[in-house]
Symmetry: D2
Subunit: 363 residues, 4 copies
């Protein structure tokens, strides 16, 4: 009998970053099959910075659980299943994770309808000297296209949210590259991490037709903030060596009751955009299975003409500030603190604004 792909998003809570009991329960009671898990996107209660180890702890605990069910080691699973975590549950935000699964169904897609579709892909390893360069965004562009194929989404407009994990060089790799006569995008590791995110975002923008190659240049990175993607959400870190891509969208070829809708916010006070998204996605009458937000404190030091103090605070990191504020806004719209809010949104949405996507399940 003919089979159709179908995707599911399950939002679960944790008691602490090492607690995967909710997923274990889902597996034990048969609601989630461990082999169907494609990716996990979650929010842990760390500080979201370099020294946030709640992400590593959650990932180790997750892979430890899955290794009980799947015939693979913790290390093998960590390479196979992308686990995208943002640390920091400021304010009303609640620690949680969204499990994305993919399986086959005999129920054909409803005619004229689109359902949640998801696809993953990976570039080849990016060399230290390629990070944050044209090579980086070109390889990302290709990987996003392959992830779209994997998701059977041919129309870029049907892509709602592209989550990337981009590599970053370690100090050791940087030294080796320099010794070998190569030049790096930046000698400053924080700037290199940011440039890696920009290259990733631009790869997405190219794949979705938001930007064209002739607009892009090394000089425009972290400088011309009008060159952004409205659907890219990028994190970067030394724990990956290639770009990992998760494409979320809606496809007429997929079956199921789930859908994803997205919008961008022009600034950190753009309540209207989020209220409209609630309307569009019918979030009030459907079950909300995941809300994904990407944001950044406005670099110009103001929101709607009034000074903010996020960038000059020695006590609280600026990303923690903006996550708390945006989290308060978006959580109030959806009536739920289980919102994935991630900072570090250079060239991902308008400067000082953000992206919001919501996954719903129709009743």
């Amino acid at each position: 009998m003919k089979q159709y792909p179908t995707a599911k998003a399950t939002r679960l809570t944790m008691k602490h970053p090492g607690d995967l009991s909710a997923l274990d329960q889902e597996i034990i009671e048969g609601r989630i099959k461990s082999a169907d898990i494609v990716a996990i996107i979650g929010k842990t209660e760390g500080n979201g910075g370099v020294n946030d180890f709640t992400r590593g702890y959650f990932t180790q605990s997750l892979m430890l659980l899955l290794s009980k069910y799947l015939d693979a080691t913790i290390e093998e699973l960590a390479e196979k299943i992308p686990c995208v975590l943002s640390g920091g549950t400021e304010g009303v935000l609640s620690p949680h994770y969204v499990v994305l699964t993919r399986s086959q169904t005999e129920i054909p897609p409803a005619s004229g309808d689109k359902a949640l579709a998801l696809g993953v892909a990976m570039t080849r390893p990016i060399e230290a000297w390629e990070i944050g360069t044209e090579t980086h965004w070109k390889l990302t562009l290709e990987a996003v296209k392959r992830a779209m194929e994997d998701a059977q989404i041919s129309n870029p407009d049907d892509v709602s949210f592209v989550q990337l994990k981009c590599p970053c060089f370690t100090v050791a790799a940087a030294k080796q590259a320099v010794a070998a006569g190569k030049s790096l995008c930046s000698g400053d590791p924080n700037r290199a991490m940011a440039l890696s995110r920009v290259a990733g975002a631009w790869g997405v923008a190219l794949a979705l037709g938001e930007l064209s190659e002739d607009q892009l240049s090394a000089e425009a990175m972290l400088s011309d903030y009008s060159l952004f993607s409205n659907r890219a959400s990028v994190s970067s870190g030394v724990e990956v060596s290639a770009v990992e891509v998760i494409v979320l969208g809606n496809s007429p070829d997929w079956s199921g009751h789930y859908q994803i809708d997205a919008t961008s916010m022009v600034d950190a006070l753009d309540l209207d955009a989020v209220l409209k998204l609630r309307e569009t996605s019918k979030a009030q009458t459907s079950e909300v299975c995941g809300v994904l937000v990407k944001c950044e404190p406005d670099r110009r030091g103001q929101v709607r003409g009034f000074r903010h103090t996020m960038l000059d605070d020695t006590d609280i990191n600026a990303q923690r500030h903006i996550r708390g504020a945006l989290g308060g806004l978006v959580a109030s719209v959806f009536g739920d603190g289980r919102i994935f809010v991630s900072g570090g949104a250079e060239h991902q949405g308008p400067d000082g604004g953000g992206l919001v996507a919501v996954i719903t399940k129709r009743p």
Copy 2:
């Protein structure tokens, strides 16, 4: 010719906690008369805790400015003009202050209309052993009634927001009291400060008929959170020895274009309450001259059934968390980061919820 009282609220920005240049400009250009200033309510960019000195710095700078115009020393002015400051401009919040002035006008109140009215009063000094006790709330009750008279508000329903500053004993005063055989409400200074706020809130609740005396007891303080005022906003500190009261409401006997509206939020996600307040107050078509919020992280560790992490965070104080989240919500509704958001809201609004008041000027 007959004169009528009229009140005005002017919202000004600061570049740093010692910057009063905006108020100086208002005075120089004649829009504010220094002698008309009744009270100031503001938000400075400190941490809002015991070691937040931005409040003292702003107050000193304010009184230094006013002493240039009024025939009084800095110390005399500090005793005369209540300056209520909340430290901490988390997230999108913007440092600012609202100058409340009161003057006389020949224009009579519009018939059938009510305008912004304000009154102030003060209790006698509260002794160390009276703080946080029945005496404290009874004296507050009387002072609120006198402030209502001062504001010419006879109907308690016309009171929208009562801001109090309550005294707290120093370690030295506590020692003296104990040596004199007196017992204190608590030996723990933080608990004593909280009990002082509760006694203040209950004084307001009694004056406005929200609670009756037989409901109140020392045992119910910080324990039965159903006993709250919906219109009290209380801070406490060692810098005052009496309870200072500012009553804000609307009165048929006052003239002018300003009005105040208020509501309470059932929890930290209660967007609907704030949207309704925006509607009621016609904030979208009027000029907003001040927004006042009081809030508290939910003591039960959850918001709408999901765990929050505010109370267990060793890195960021819980009050900073909730101010950032509520600030993000309320600022997005009014499209402006200049929101006064203050924590420490025990028995001021429902547990885990908050109070919001907005002062508008009709076009």
Copy 3:
């Protein structure tokens, strides 16, 4: 052939809280036998507070490693091998851990000499209503005595350092106990944790003859700070249900080149005490294998007559302040940042002072 007990302390570094590669290397290269590991005491780079998950992450990673070598699950190992961690490597402190092992040797103890000896013991589970009470300190007293026997130390003067992990009730257990008509030592979880540490410290003091039972009372807890142990280092948490005891001292019946020396500091500036300990322990000519410090910000708000600001800082937790300061002092004396510094030292050493122990290996 006759066998004699012998103890060893190995100090290892970590790259992050999930990195146990240094221990793995020791095991692979045969310097440490996994079956000999009795306990681990370490310092991870978290914040040391309730929301410090680096301790859980390290413990999980440690047990995951040991489960590769020993025929036991992660859970079984976690119950068997005490892993005492203090989060927070403020200032010059360096993340590290000391692995304590115990084995048998044919080499008899040198006559007239004492060598490092260690013993462990555990009380029966402490019920929620027993925590922080006389029962708690009496059970601890017995357990310390058993741990001393295990260490073959009969003279209490030969005990240098007693590390305890004391239980604390969860909110759920507290509710159950109250429902069953039991009363708890305190309704405030933070105070209950502190009382649990005091009861533990007093159990040690009784076992070592530092205090006698008639001196102790519930009233004196967290009140009469002259009642302290000079050799107890206590942590408390919900992760244990019984009191876990590790006794470290020197015994004439043990063989080996290791020894432990200890002292107490009268206040946070007591450099002389630490310099003398360096002298006594011959730390400058021996290999230092572990330095253990317990300390607390002075509750009276002063150090040697001058105000400190640790207790009133809303930005940085007081325990982080004192660990950074004491860490700077002790690390400078031993010329090494790998110092275990733990706060929460109520009734463990003089108020505002601390304990320091050093394990050395003679050349």
Copy 4:
């Protein structure tokens, strides 16, 4: 009768950053003449970062006090009397300030002896495009020489400590400069502040013969850390437009019982250097009137071969970490928490090390 210059250092405590009552008392009781005050160096209890307003609050309060005694406005006094403040009293550090006064005496200097001498000078205003450049260090060199003349110190070896305040451009000034076709030392304000400190430090090193002009270049700034001054302590900020110089040393031409001694620490654990300084300065038998420390977290991420975590901590600023650790060490040596410890020590002492100076009064 012949008059000789004499200097005095008085160390005073504060209850909070707005409390100058101790200085007021000194003036009232005649121990300090307000007109003799040359400079003030102090430590306030802020966070030491951009948003530390305790420095501005203290300065305003100081000038407010002095304006009561001297015929000058607050603004005039602020331009005339350098007030160098470092925010952040981490760990055992105690808020305090050292008042440096200069007067004339009829008592001639003891033959063969040197006494504390101090001199001040100022460069012309430094233009935005000159900050952090060769012009900046050349102008500083000249100003240090003038301050040495003012202090009557001809031998550079007699200079112990040179405190500078260097200007930094505001965003507005930067824009203007760029619009006028000028190029700035850096577009990044934090880097520009650091470069300003380096240029200042190099000006001192040139004046004292520690470095020669041909060793210096723009490329070596923040890169070749072997090019440092052992006696410069530099802060930078937008509140000054010229370089302010305070030279502290010992001169055979000055009279009095005060002296200053200084040393450098090779790293953050260099207890020996501080113990030797205590010896040299006879601090244990004299009255200590001020201890001045400059330090920096080691950029290489290690102290004596072991990893520190200061540079990667999102919760606590790296400068707060190192101040707490060095403060703990130095305060323990002098038995007093009133130590001025300032970070931001680029090219001021060896990388990862620091400078320490102590002012004593012979009995």
